[in-house]
Protein backbone atom coordinates (compact mmCIF):
# COMPACT_ATOMS: atom_id res chain seq x y z
CA UNK A 1 0.00 0.00 0.00
CA UNK A 2 2.74 2.43 1.02
CA UNK A 3 6.08 2.02 -0.67
CA UNK A 4 9.30 3.90 -0.15
CA UNK A 5 12.00 3.44 -2.78
CA UNK A 6 15.48 4.79 -2.14
CA UNK A 7 14.06 7.74 -0.26
CA UNK A 8 16.70 10.31 0.66
CA UNK A 9 16.52 13.60 2.48
CA UNK A 10 19.48 15.93 2.49
CA UNK A 11 19.66 19.26 4.26
CA UNK A 12 22.07 22.05 3.53
CA UNK A 13 23.82 23.18 6.66
CA UNK A 14 26.67 25.49 7.53
CA UNK A 15 26.99 29.22 7.11
CA UNK A 16 26.61 29.20 3.32
CA UNK A 17 24.78 25.93 2.94
CA UNK A 18 27.98 24.37 1.72
CA UNK A 19 27.76 21.24 3.80
CA UNK A 20 25.24 18.48 3.48
CA UNK A 21 23.46 16.71 6.27
CA UNK A 22 22.07 13.36 5.25
CA UNK A 23 18.99 12.86 7.41
CA UNK A 24 17.69 9.87 5.46
CA UNK A 25 19.71 7.85 2.97
CA UNK A 26 18.32 5.39 0.46
CA UNK A 27 15.52 3.97 2.58
CA UNK A 28 13.36 1.20 1.15
CA UNK A 29 10.33 0.02 3.01
CA UNK A 30 6.74 -1.01 2.49
CA UNK A 31 3.60 -1.06 4.60
CA UNK A 32 0.73 -3.36 3.70
CA UNK A 33 -2.92 -3.00 4.80
CA UNK A 34 -3.34 -4.43 8.29
CA UNK A 35 0.36 -4.28 8.96
CA UNK A 36 2.23 -2.36 11.63
CA UNK A 37 5.75 -1.40 10.65
CA UNK A 38 7.96 -0.07 13.41
CA UNK A 39 10.65 2.44 12.55
CA UNK A 40 13.07 2.10 15.42
CA UNK A 41 16.05 4.35 15.90
CA UNK A 42 17.86 6.68 18.26
CA UNK A 43 17.85 10.45 17.91
CA UNK A 44 19.33 11.51 14.59
CA UNK A 45 18.40 8.26 12.89
CA UNK A 46 15.97 10.04 10.56
CA UNK A 47 12.90 8.14 11.74
CA UNK A 48 10.71 11.20 12.23
CA UNK A 49 11.91 12.68 8.94
CA UNK A 50 10.60 9.59 7.16
CA UNK A 51 7.23 9.99 8.88
CA UNK A 52 7.03 13.64 7.87
CA UNK A 53 7.88 12.78 4.27
CA UNK A 54 5.09 10.22 4.16
CA UNK A 55 2.74 12.88 5.51
CA UNK A 56 4.00 15.32 2.85
CA UNK A 57 5.08 17.79 5.51
CA UNK A 58 8.54 17.76 3.99
CA UNK A 59 9.59 16.72 0.50
CA UNK A 60 12.17 14.01 -0.15
CA UNK A 61 15.38 15.09 -1.90
CA UNK A 62 15.47 11.91 -3.94
CA UNK A 63 13.63 8.62 -4.28
CA UNK A 64 9.94 7.91 -4.54
CA UNK A 65 7.11 7.43 -2.09
CA UNK A 66 4.06 5.76 -3.57
CA UNK A 67 0.73 5.28 -1.88
CA UNK A 68 -1.72 2.83 -3.41
CA UNK A 69 0.25 2.93 -6.63
CA UNK A 70 0.36 6.71 -6.96
CA UNK A 71 3.48 8.77 -6.57
CA UNK A 72 3.00 10.98 -3.53
CA UNK A 73 5.21 13.72 -5.00
CA UNK A 74 2.72 13.99 -7.85
CA UNK A 75 -0.04 14.90 -5.41
CA UNK A 76 -0.25 18.61 -6.08
CA UNK A 77 -2.79 21.30 -5.51
CA UNK A 78 -5.18 21.76 -2.65
CA UNK A 79 -7.83 19.31 -3.80
CA UNK A 80 -5.43 16.43 -4.42
CA UNK A 81 -3.64 17.08 -1.14
CA UNK A 82 -6.93 16.96 0.69
CA UNK A 83 -7.79 13.67 -0.92
CA UNK A 84 -4.41 12.31 0.13
CA UNK A 85 -4.99 13.35 3.72
CA UNK A 86 -8.40 11.71 3.60
CA UNK A 87 -6.48 8.43 3.31
CA UNK A 88 -3.24 9.11 5.18
CA UNK A 89 -3.12 10.72 8.60
CA UNK A 90 -0.63 11.29 11.38
CA UNK A 91 -0.46 11.47 15.16
CA UNK A 92 2.53 13.15 16.76
CA UNK A 93 4.67 12.83 19.83
CA UNK A 94 3.63 15.77 21.98
CA UNK A 95 -0.14 15.73 22.46
CA UNK A 96 -0.04 19.12 24.19
CA UNK A 97 1.67 20.78 21.27
CA UNK A 98 -0.83 19.27 18.81
CA UNK A 99 -3.67 21.31 20.21
CA UNK A 100 -3.96 25.01 19.68
CA UNK A 101 -4.01 26.24 23.29
CA UNK A 102 -6.37 29.07 22.39
CA UNK A 103 -9.24 26.77 21.42
CA UNK A 104 -11.12 23.82 22.90
CA UNK A 105 -9.69 20.39 22.21
CA UNK A 106 -12.61 19.17 20.11
CA UNK A 107 -11.84 21.90 17.58
CA UNK A 108 -9.61 19.32 15.87
CA UNK A 109 -12.86 17.56 14.94
CA UNK A 110 -14.35 20.84 13.79
CA UNK A 111 -11.47 21.33 11.36
CA UNK A 112 -12.13 17.93 9.82
CA UNK A 113 -15.81 18.73 9.48
CA UNK A 114 -15.13 22.12 7.91
CA UNK A 115 -12.78 20.65 5.33
CA UNK A 116 -14.24 17.24 4.60
CA UNK A 117 -17.80 16.88 5.85
CA UNK A 118 -19.38 20.24 5.14
CA UNK A 119 -22.64 18.70 4.06
CA UNK A 120 -23.06 16.41 7.07
CA UNK A 121 -25.98 17.40 9.27
CA UNK A 122 -25.25 18.32 12.87
CA UNK A 123 -26.86 15.14 14.15
CA UNK A 124 -25.08 12.90 11.67
CA UNK A 125 -21.80 14.56 12.50
CA UNK A 126 -22.32 14.16 16.22
CA UNK A 127 -23.07 10.48 15.73
CA UNK A 128 -19.92 10.13 13.71
CA UNK A 129 -17.78 11.87 16.34
CA UNK A 130 -19.29 9.75 19.08
CA UNK A 131 -18.57 6.61 17.13
CA UNK A 132 -14.95 7.64 16.70
CA UNK A 133 -14.70 8.48 20.39
CA UNK A 134 -16.18 5.12 21.29
CA UNK A 135 -13.53 3.43 19.16
CA UNK A 136 -10.77 5.13 21.13
CA UNK A 137 -12.73 4.50 24.35
CA UNK A 138 -13.31 8.08 25.37
CA UNK A 139 -16.45 9.33 27.05
CA UNK A 140 -17.75 12.30 24.99
CA UNK A 141 -18.95 14.03 28.15
CA UNK A 142 -15.45 14.03 29.52
CA UNK A 143 -13.66 15.46 26.53
CA UNK A 144 -16.02 17.58 24.44
CA UNK A 145 -15.81 21.30 25.12
CA UNK A 146 -12.70 20.96 27.27
CA UNK A 147 -9.48 22.88 26.77
CA UNK A 148 -6.31 20.91 26.05
CA UNK A 149 -4.75 21.57 29.45
CA UNK A 150 -7.83 20.17 31.18
CA UNK A 151 -7.21 16.75 29.66
CA UNK A 152 -4.48 14.23 30.27
CA UNK A 153 -1.84 13.34 27.71
CA UNK A 154 -3.48 9.95 27.14
CA UNK A 155 -6.89 11.51 26.53
CA UNK A 156 -5.43 14.04 24.11
CA UNK A 157 -3.54 11.38 22.22
CA UNK A 158 -6.71 9.32 21.89
CA UNK A 159 -8.59 12.41 20.71
CA UNK A 160 -6.01 12.77 17.95
CA UNK A 161 -6.48 9.16 16.91
CA UNK A 162 -10.26 9.66 16.95
CA UNK A 163 -9.76 12.70 14.75
CA UNK A 164 -7.95 10.57 12.18
CA UNK A 165 -10.77 8.02 12.31
CA UNK A 166 -13.26 10.66 11.17
CA UNK A 167 -11.68 10.35 7.74
CA UNK A 168 -11.61 7.18 5.67
CA UNK A 169 -7.99 6.56 6.53
CA UNK A 170 -6.06 3.61 5.23
CA UNK A 171 -2.71 4.59 6.66
CA UNK A 172 -1.68 6.11 9.98
CA UNK A 173 1.73 7.53 10.80
CA UNK A 174 2.20 7.34 14.58
CA UNK A 175 5.30 9.34 15.50
CA UNK A 176 6.46 8.58 19.07
CA UNK A 177 2.85 8.81 20.19
CA UNK A 178 3.40 7.25 23.59
CA UNK A 179 6.72 8.59 24.72
CA UNK A 180 5.10 11.47 26.61
CA UNK A 181 2.45 9.34 28.26
CA UNK A 182 2.50 7.73 31.68
CA UNK A 183 3.21 4.05 31.89
CA UNK A 184 -0.22 3.10 33.13
CA UNK A 185 -1.99 4.74 30.18
CA UNK A 186 0.47 4.22 27.35
CA UNK A 187 -0.37 0.58 26.94
CA UNK A 188 -4.01 1.46 26.23
CA UNK A 189 -2.99 3.72 23.37
CA UNK A 190 -0.73 1.00 22.07
CA UNK A 191 -3.54 -1.55 22.22
CA UNK A 192 -5.69 0.89 20.31
CA UNK A 193 -3.20 0.80 17.45
CA UNK A 194 -3.46 -2.97 17.54
CA UNK A 195 -7.24 -2.74 17.20
CA UNK A 196 -6.94 -0.34 14.27
CA UNK A 197 -4.59 -2.72 12.57
CA UNK A 198 -7.22 -5.42 12.90
CA UNK A 199 -9.57 -3.12 10.99
CA UNK A 200 -7.17 -3.21 8.06
CA UNK A 201 -5.21 -0.02 8.62
CA UNK A 202 -1.57 0.16 7.71
CA UNK A 203 0.42 1.77 10.51
CA UNK A 204 3.87 3.27 10.44
CA UNK A 205 4.88 3.25 14.10
CA UNK A 206 7.88 5.45 14.82
CA UNK A 207 9.61 4.91 18.15
CA UNK A 208 12.92 4.95 19.96
CA UNK A 209 11.70 2.32 22.40
CA UNK A 210 12.49 -1.19 21.25
CA UNK A 211 10.12 -2.91 23.62
CA UNK A 212 7.20 -0.84 22.34
CA UNK A 213 8.17 -1.56 18.75
CA UNK A 214 8.35 -5.22 19.58
CA UNK A 215 4.96 -5.27 21.30
CA UNK A 216 2.93 -3.89 18.46
CA UNK A 217 4.62 -4.42 15.14
CA UNK A 218 4.70 -7.07 12.44
CA UNK A 219 7.80 -5.72 10.77
CA UNK A 220 10.67 -3.96 12.47
CA UNK A 221 12.97 -1.53 10.69
CA UNK A 222 16.11 -0.51 12.56
CA UNK A 223 17.50 2.83 11.46
CA UNK A 224 20.91 4.25 12.12
CA UNK A 225 22.08 7.60 10.80
CA UNK A 226 19.43 7.69 8.14
CA UNK A 227 19.99 4.18 6.84
CA UNK A 228 18.13 0.93 7.29
CA UNK A 229 20.63 -1.39 8.97
CA UNK A 230 18.21 -4.20 9.59
CA UNK A 231 14.69 -4.95 8.51
CA UNK A 232 12.55 -8.00 8.94
CA UNK A 233 9.67 -9.73 10.71
CA UNK A 234 9.64 -8.37 14.28
CA UNK A 235 9.97 -11.75 15.91
CA UNK A 236 13.07 -12.59 13.89
CA UNK A 237 14.75 -9.23 14.29
CA UNK A 238 14.30 -9.31 18.06
CA UNK A 239 15.01 -12.99 18.57
CA UNK A 240 18.00 -13.16 16.26
CA UNK A 241 19.31 -9.68 15.66
CA UNK A 242 21.86 -9.87 12.86
CA UNK A 243 23.46 -6.44 12.68
CA UNK A 244 25.99 -5.59 15.42
CA UNK A 245 24.21 -2.27 15.98
CA UNK A 246 20.85 -3.98 16.54
CA UNK A 247 22.49 -6.39 18.94
CA UNK A 248 24.14 -3.61 20.92
CA UNK A 249 20.92 -1.62 20.99
CA UNK A 250 18.95 -4.60 22.22
CA UNK A 251 21.42 -5.32 24.97
CA UNK A 252 21.19 -1.69 26.18
CA UNK A 253 17.41 -1.67 26.46
CA UNK A 254 16.48 -1.73 30.12
CA UNK A 255 14.28 -4.76 30.65
CA UNK A 256 12.18 -5.70 33.61
CA UNK A 257 13.26 -9.29 34.08
CA UNK A 258 16.72 -9.18 32.57
CA UNK A 259 19.63 -7.19 33.91
CA UNK A 260 22.16 -5.54 31.64
CA UNK A 261 24.77 -8.05 32.77
CA UNK A 262 22.52 -10.92 31.74
CA UNK A 263 21.87 -9.28 28.38
CA UNK A 264 25.61 -8.83 27.86
CA UNK A 265 26.24 -12.44 28.81
CA UNK A 266 23.61 -13.61 26.34
CA UNK A 267 25.23 -11.46 23.68
CA UNK A 268 28.66 -12.95 24.40
CA UNK A 269 27.23 -16.44 24.43
CA UNK A 270 25.97 -15.80 20.92
CA UNK A 271 29.52 -14.89 20.01
CA UNK A 272 30.76 -11.48 18.86
CA UNK A 273 29.73 -12.35 15.38
CA UNK A 274 30.62 -10.29 12.42
CA UNK A 275 27.82 -9.03 10.25
CA UNK A 276 26.16 -12.05 8.61
CA UNK A 277 25.58 -9.95 5.52
CA UNK A 278 29.32 -9.76 5.00
CA UNK A 279 29.55 -13.52 5.40
CA UNK A 280 27.03 -13.84 2.57
CA UNK A 281 29.28 -12.09 0.16
CA UNK A 282 28.62 -8.42 0.92
CA UNK A 283 31.60 -6.11 0.95
CA UNK A 284 32.40 -5.57 4.65
CA UNK A 285 31.22 -2.23 5.91
CA UNK A 286 29.93 -1.15 2.56
CA UNK A 287 27.19 -3.46 1.42
CA UNK A 288 23.57 -2.52 1.12
CA UNK A 289 20.74 -4.75 2.24
CA UNK A 290 21.53 -8.45 2.00
CA UNK A 291 18.70 -10.92 2.48
CA UNK A 292 19.42 -13.39 5.28
CA UNK A 293 16.06 -15.09 5.41
CA UNK A 294 12.86 -14.30 3.51
CA UNK A 295 12.12 -10.66 4.31
CA UNK A 296 14.97 -10.28 6.77
CA UNK A 297 17.57 -7.88 5.44
CA UNK A 298 20.71 -6.51 6.95
CA UNK A 299 22.96 -3.76 5.65
CA UNK A 300 26.41 -2.52 6.68
CA UNK A 301 27.34 1.06 6.04
CA UNK A 302 30.14 1.73 8.49
CA UNK A 303 32.69 2.37 5.74
CA UNK A 304 30.51 5.16 4.31
CA UNK A 305 29.79 7.05 7.52
Amino acid sequence: MLDLRQVTKTYRVGAFGGERLHAVRGVDLAVAPGEVVSLIGESGSGKSTIGKMVLRLIAPSAGAITFEGRDVAAVRGHRATKEYYRRVQGVFQDPFSCFNPVFTADRVFGLIRAEYHRSASAAAWRARVEEALATVRLDPAQVMGKYPHQLSGGQLQRLLIARALLLDIRMLVADEIISMLDASTRIDVLNLLGDLKARGLGILFITHDLSLGNYISDTAVILRRGRVVEKGPTGEVFAAPAHPYTRRLLSSVPQLHTTWEQADAALRAGGERACPGCARGGQPGAHGPVELAPGHHVGCFTAQD
Binding site: S97, C98, N100, P101, L111, H149
Partner: protein, 306 residues
Protein backbone atom coordinates in the same frame (compact mmCIF):
# COMPACT_ATOMS: atom_id res chain seq x y z
CA UNK B 1 -13.21 17.22 37.33
CA UNK B 2 -12.72 20.94 37.16
CA UNK B 3 -11.63 21.11 40.79
CA UNK B 4 -8.49 19.22 40.03
CA UNK B 5 -7.18 21.31 37.15
CA UNK B 6 -5.05 23.89 38.90
CA UNK B 7 -3.38 21.42 41.18
CA UNK B 8 -2.69 19.03 38.35
CA UNK B 9 -1.11 21.93 36.57
CA UNK B 10 0.90 22.98 39.60
CA UNK B 11 2.16 19.47 40.13
CA UNK B 12 2.83 19.02 36.44
CA UNK B 13 4.86 22.20 36.47
CA UNK B 14 6.65 21.01 39.56
CA UNK B 15 7.29 17.65 38.04
CA UNK B 16 8.90 19.30 35.07
CA UNK B 17 6.05 18.91 32.68
CA UNK B 18 5.28 21.64 30.19
CA UNK B 19 2.96 24.16 31.79
CA UNK B 20 -0.07 24.89 29.70
CA UNK B 21 -1.55 28.27 29.10
CA UNK B 22 -5.02 28.87 30.42
CA UNK B 23 -8.07 28.66 28.20
CA UNK B 24 -9.13 31.79 26.36
CA UNK B 25 -12.34 32.36 28.28
CA UNK B 26 -10.49 32.20 31.53
CA UNK B 27 -7.56 34.13 30.06
CA UNK B 28 -9.89 36.76 28.70
CA UNK B 29 -11.61 37.01 32.05
CA UNK B 30 -8.25 37.10 33.75
CA UNK B 31 -6.96 39.77 31.38
CA UNK B 32 -10.08 41.83 31.97
CA UNK B 33 -9.69 41.36 35.69
CA UNK B 34 -6.17 42.71 35.61
CA UNK B 35 -7.00 45.34 32.98
CA UNK B 36 -9.66 46.90 35.21
CA UNK B 37 -7.17 47.06 38.05
CA UNK B 38 -4.24 48.41 36.11
CA UNK B 39 -3.85 52.15 36.82
CA UNK B 40 -1.55 52.74 33.85
CA UNK B 41 -4.05 51.26 31.44
CA UNK B 42 -7.00 53.04 33.05
CA UNK B 43 -5.34 56.49 33.10
CA UNK B 44 -3.87 56.14 29.60
CA UNK B 45 -7.10 54.79 28.20
CA UNK B 46 -9.11 57.47 29.98
CA UNK B 47 -7.07 60.34 28.53
CA UNK B 48 -7.06 58.92 25.02
CA UNK B 49 -10.77 58.16 25.25
CA UNK B 50 -11.64 61.65 26.46
CA UNK B 51 -9.62 63.32 23.71
CA UNK B 52 -11.09 61.01 21.09
CA UNK B 53 -14.58 61.84 22.29
CA UNK B 54 -13.77 65.55 22.15
CA UNK B 55 -12.46 65.18 18.63
CA UNK B 56 -15.55 63.29 17.54
CA UNK B 57 -18.27 65.26 19.30
CA UNK B 58 -17.06 68.83 19.81
CA UNK B 59 -16.74 69.74 16.09
CA UNK B 60 -20.49 69.12 15.77
CA UNK B 61 -21.12 72.09 18.04
CA UNK B 62 -18.74 74.47 16.32
CA UNK B 63 -20.75 76.70 14.02
CA UNK B 64 -18.08 77.89 11.64
CA UNK B 65 -15.19 75.99 10.07
CA UNK B 66 -11.87 75.97 11.88
CA UNK B 67 -10.14 78.28 9.41
CA UNK B 68 -12.90 80.87 9.17
CA UNK B 69 -12.10 84.32 10.54
CA UNK B 70 -14.81 84.62 13.11
CA UNK B 71 -13.77 87.13 15.69
CA UNK B 72 -11.34 89.71 16.95
CA UNK B 73 -7.67 89.07 16.34
CA UNK B 74 -5.19 87.69 18.89
CA UNK B 75 -7.58 87.61 21.77
CA UNK B 76 -6.80 85.72 24.97
CA UNK B 77 -9.20 82.99 26.12
CA UNK B 78 -12.59 84.31 27.08
CA UNK B 79 -16.11 83.06 27.72
CA UNK B 80 -16.92 83.39 24.03
CA UNK B 81 -13.66 82.01 22.62
CA UNK B 82 -12.60 79.39 25.14
CA UNK B 83 -9.10 79.12 23.83
CA UNK B 84 -8.80 82.61 22.40
CA UNK B 85 -8.24 83.52 18.77
CA UNK B 86 -5.30 83.58 16.38
CA UNK B 87 -3.59 86.57 14.80
CA UNK B 88 -6.20 86.38 12.05
CA UNK B 89 -9.21 86.00 14.30
CA UNK B 90 -9.68 82.23 13.95
CA UNK B 91 -11.18 80.37 16.90
CA UNK B 92 -8.38 78.30 18.50
CA UNK B 93 -10.89 75.99 20.19
CA UNK B 94 -12.48 75.16 16.86
CA UNK B 95 -9.07 74.49 15.37
CA UNK B 96 -8.12 72.33 18.34
CA UNK B 97 -11.14 70.05 18.18
CA UNK B 98 -10.93 69.66 14.40
CA UNK B 99 -7.20 69.12 14.78
CA UNK B 100 -7.82 66.33 17.28
CA UNK B 101 -10.08 64.66 14.78
CA UNK B 102 -7.46 64.70 12.04
CA UNK B 103 -4.74 63.64 14.42
CA UNK B 104 -6.69 60.51 15.34
CA UNK B 105 -7.42 59.94 11.67
CA UNK B 106 -3.72 60.07 10.82
CA UNK B 107 -2.98 57.65 13.63
CA UNK B 108 -5.68 55.27 12.48
CA UNK B 109 -4.75 55.36 8.80
CA UNK B 110 -0.97 55.38 9.33
CA UNK B 111 -0.96 52.84 12.17
CA UNK B 112 -3.56 50.68 10.45
CA UNK B 113 -1.71 50.53 7.14
CA UNK B 114 1.61 49.85 8.84
CA UNK B 115 0.03 47.08 10.94
CA UNK B 116 -1.66 45.43 7.97
CA UNK B 117 1.38 45.59 5.69
CA UNK B 118 3.75 44.53 8.48
CA UNK B 119 1.60 41.58 9.49
CA UNK B 120 0.98 40.37 5.96
CA UNK B 121 4.68 40.55 5.16
CA UNK B 122 5.69 39.04 8.51
CA UNK B 123 3.19 36.19 8.39
CA UNK B 124 3.97 35.35 4.79
CA UNK B 125 7.73 35.41 5.30
CA UNK B 126 7.57 33.45 8.53
CA UNK B 127 5.15 30.80 7.34
CA UNK B 128 6.28 30.33 3.75
CA UNK B 129 9.99 30.41 4.44
CA UNK B 130 12.52 29.68 1.71
CA UNK B 131 12.84 32.05 -1.22
CA UNK B 132 9.69 33.99 -0.34
CA UNK B 133 11.16 34.65 3.09
CA UNK B 134 14.48 35.76 1.63
CA UNK B 135 12.87 38.22 -0.78
CA UNK B 136 10.45 39.67 1.75
CA UNK B 137 13.23 39.93 4.27
CA UNK B 138 15.33 41.86 1.80
CA UNK B 139 12.50 44.28 1.05
CA UNK B 140 11.87 44.71 4.76
CA UNK B 141 15.49 45.49 5.41
CA UNK B 142 15.64 47.99 2.56
CA UNK B 143 12.58 49.87 3.82
CA UNK B 144 13.96 49.66 7.34
CA UNK B 145 17.19 51.45 6.48
CA UNK B 146 15.50 54.06 4.25
CA UNK B 147 15.49 57.32 6.18
CA UNK B 148 11.72 57.49 6.44
CA UNK B 149 11.56 61.16 7.28
CA UNK B 150 13.57 62.15 4.21
CA UNK B 151 11.32 60.08 1.99
CA UNK B 152 8.28 61.67 3.55
CA UNK B 153 9.73 65.16 3.11
CA UNK B 154 10.47 64.53 -0.55
CA UNK B 155 7.09 62.94 -1.18
CA UNK B 156 5.31 65.74 0.63
CA UNK B 157 7.26 68.39 -1.27
CA UNK B 158 6.35 66.94 -4.68
CA UNK B 159 2.67 66.42 -4.09
CA UNK B 160 0.54 69.49 -4.77
CA UNK B 161 -2.62 68.75 -2.87
CA UNK B 162 -2.03 66.86 0.34
CA UNK B 163 -4.81 65.60 2.56
CA UNK B 164 -4.75 64.03 5.99
CA UNK B 165 -5.46 60.56 4.62
CA UNK B 166 -2.65 60.79 2.11
CA UNK B 167 -0.26 61.78 4.88
CA UNK B 168 -1.41 58.75 6.87
CA UNK B 169 -0.86 56.52 3.86
CA UNK B 170 2.73 57.68 3.48
CA UNK B 171 3.45 57.23 7.14
CA UNK B 172 1.94 53.76 7.07
CA UNK B 173 3.98 52.71 4.07
CA UNK B 174 7.25 53.65 5.72
CA UNK B 175 6.79 52.42 9.28
CA UNK B 176 5.84 48.76 8.84
CA UNK B 177 9.26 47.01 8.66
CA UNK B 178 9.86 46.45 12.35
CA UNK B 179 6.36 44.99 12.70
CA UNK B 180 7.12 42.63 9.84
CA UNK B 181 10.32 41.51 11.49
CA UNK B 182 8.74 40.90 14.87
CA UNK B 183 5.72 39.09 13.42
CA UNK B 184 7.98 36.97 11.23
CA UNK B 185 10.05 35.87 14.22
CA UNK B 186 6.96 34.91 16.22
CA UNK B 187 5.43 33.12 13.25
CA UNK B 188 8.61 31.15 12.70
CA UNK B 189 8.51 29.83 16.24
CA UNK B 190 4.76 29.10 16.23
CA UNK B 191 4.90 27.42 12.82
CA UNK B 192 7.08 24.62 14.20
CA UNK B 193 4.39 23.65 16.70
CA UNK B 194 2.63 20.41 15.98
CA UNK B 195 -0.84 21.94 15.81
CA UNK B 196 0.22 23.73 12.65
CA UNK B 197 1.23 20.42 11.08
CA UNK B 198 -2.05 18.95 12.23
CA UNK B 199 -3.99 21.77 10.58
CA UNK B 200 -2.14 21.04 7.35
CA UNK B 201 -3.10 17.39 7.70
CA UNK B 202 -6.69 18.55 8.10
CA UNK B 203 -6.54 20.04 4.61
CA UNK B 204 -6.43 23.66 5.71
CA UNK B 205 -5.13 26.21 3.28
CA UNK B 206 -2.06 28.23 4.15
CA UNK B 207 -3.86 31.53 4.71
CA UNK B 208 -6.39 30.05 7.07
CA UNK B 209 -3.61 28.30 9.00
CA UNK B 210 -1.90 31.65 9.44
CA UNK B 211 -4.96 33.67 10.37
CA UNK B 212 -6.98 31.07 12.26
CA UNK B 213 -4.26 28.99 13.94
CA UNK B 214 -1.16 31.12 14.33
CA UNK B 215 -2.50 34.67 14.64
CA UNK B 216 -4.87 33.95 17.57
CA UNK B 217 -1.84 32.85 19.57
CA UNK B 218 -0.30 36.27 19.25
CA UNK B 219 -3.42 38.43 19.37
CA UNK B 220 -2.37 40.34 22.46
CA UNK B 221 0.98 41.07 20.88
CA UNK B 222 -0.65 42.26 17.65
CA UNK B 223 -2.97 44.52 19.60
CA UNK B 224 -0.08 46.14 21.42
CA UNK B 225 1.81 46.57 18.18
CA UNK B 226 -1.10 48.46 16.70
CA UNK B 227 -1.23 50.83 19.68
CA UNK B 228 2.45 51.61 19.32
CA UNK B 229 2.08 52.19 15.58
CA UNK B 230 -0.90 54.44 16.21
CA UNK B 231 1.12 56.64 18.57
CA UNK B 232 4.13 56.59 16.28
CA UNK B 233 2.09 57.72 13.28
CA UNK B 234 0.65 60.66 15.23
CA UNK B 235 4.12 61.72 16.27
CA UNK B 236 5.55 61.52 12.74
CA UNK B 237 2.56 63.44 11.37
CA UNK B 238 3.03 66.18 13.96
CA UNK B 239 6.69 66.42 13.03
CA UNK B 240 5.87 66.76 9.34
CA UNK B 241 3.19 69.35 10.00
CA UNK B 242 5.49 71.35 12.20
CA UNK B 243 8.18 71.68 9.54
CA UNK B 244 5.55 72.80 7.06
CA UNK B 245 4.95 69.60 5.15
CA UNK B 246 1.56 68.92 6.60
CA UNK B 247 -1.74 68.81 4.75
CA UNK B 248 -2.45 71.74 2.48
CA UNK B 249 -6.12 71.58 3.36
CA UNK B 250 -7.81 71.04 6.66
CA UNK B 251 -6.31 71.52 10.06
CA UNK B 252 -4.29 69.41 12.42
CA UNK B 253 -2.60 69.87 15.77
CA UNK B 254 0.83 69.91 14.15
CA UNK B 255 -0.31 72.47 11.61
CA UNK B 256 -1.63 74.71 14.40
CA UNK B 257 1.78 74.67 16.02
CA UNK B 258 3.42 75.37 12.69
CA UNK B 259 1.19 78.40 12.15
CA UNK B 260 1.65 79.62 15.69
CA UNK B 261 5.40 79.57 15.34
CA UNK B 262 5.35 81.03 11.82
CA UNK B 263 3.20 84.01 12.88
CA UNK B 264 5.19 84.82 15.97
CA UNK B 265 2.90 83.48 18.69
CA UNK B 266 5.96 82.71 20.80
CA UNK B 267 7.33 86.27 20.55
CA UNK B 268 3.91 87.82 21.11
CA UNK B 269 3.27 85.68 24.17
CA UNK B 270 0.10 84.14 22.67
CA UNK B 271 0.42 80.94 24.67
CA UNK B 272 -3.17 79.91 24.01
CA UNK B 273 -2.27 79.41 20.35
CA UNK B 274 0.50 76.84 20.75
CA UNK B 275 -0.01 75.29 24.19
CA UNK B 276 -3.30 73.45 23.45
CA UNK B 277 -2.07 71.63 20.32
CA UNK B 278 1.29 70.84 21.91
CA UNK B 279 -0.38 69.54 25.03
CA UNK B 280 -2.89 67.58 22.94
CA UNK B 281 -0.20 65.73 20.99
CA UNK B 282 1.85 65.05 24.12
CA UNK B 283 -1.21 63.79 25.97
CA UNK B 284 -2.33 61.45 23.18
CA UNK B 285 1.07 59.94 22.42
CA UNK B 286 2.14 59.81 26.07
CA UNK B 287 -1.10 58.14 27.11
CA UNK B 288 -0.82 55.60 24.32
CA UNK B 289 2.63 54.61 25.49
CA UNK B 290 1.51 54.41 29.11
CA UNK B 291 -1.44 52.28 27.94
CA UNK B 292 0.99 50.00 26.18
CA UNK B 293 3.05 49.48 29.32
CA UNK B 294 -0.20 48.75 31.15
CA UNK B 295 -1.30 46.27 28.50
CA UNK B 296 2.05 44.57 28.72
CA UNK B 297 1.46 44.05 32.41
CA UNK B 298 -2.03 42.74 31.77
CA UNK B 299 -1.00 40.22 29.14
CA UNK B 300 2.31 39.20 30.66
CA UNK B 301 1.80 37.62 34.09
CA UNK B 302 5.47 38.06 34.97
CA UNK B 303 5.18 41.85 34.94
CA UNK B 304 2.02 42.06 37.02
CA UNK B 305 2.43 44.02 40.20
CA UNK B 306 1.00 41.60 42.70
Amino acid sequence: MSEMEPDVRAVQAAEGLPAQAGPPERRLGESLHFALRNPKLLIGGGVVGALLLTGLVAPLFVQEGPNVYVGPQAQAPSAQYWLGTTNFGQDVFAQFVFGLRSTFLVGLVGGGIAAVVGMVVGFTAGYRGGLVDEVLNMITNVVLVLPALVVLIIAAAYLQARGIALQGLFIGLTSWPWVARAVRAQTLSLATRDFVDLARLSGRRAHSIVFREIAPNMSSYLFMTFILLFGGAILIAAGLDFIGLGPTEGVSLGLMMHNAVTWGALQLGMWWWFVPPGLGITAIVGSLYIMNVGLDEVFNPKLREL
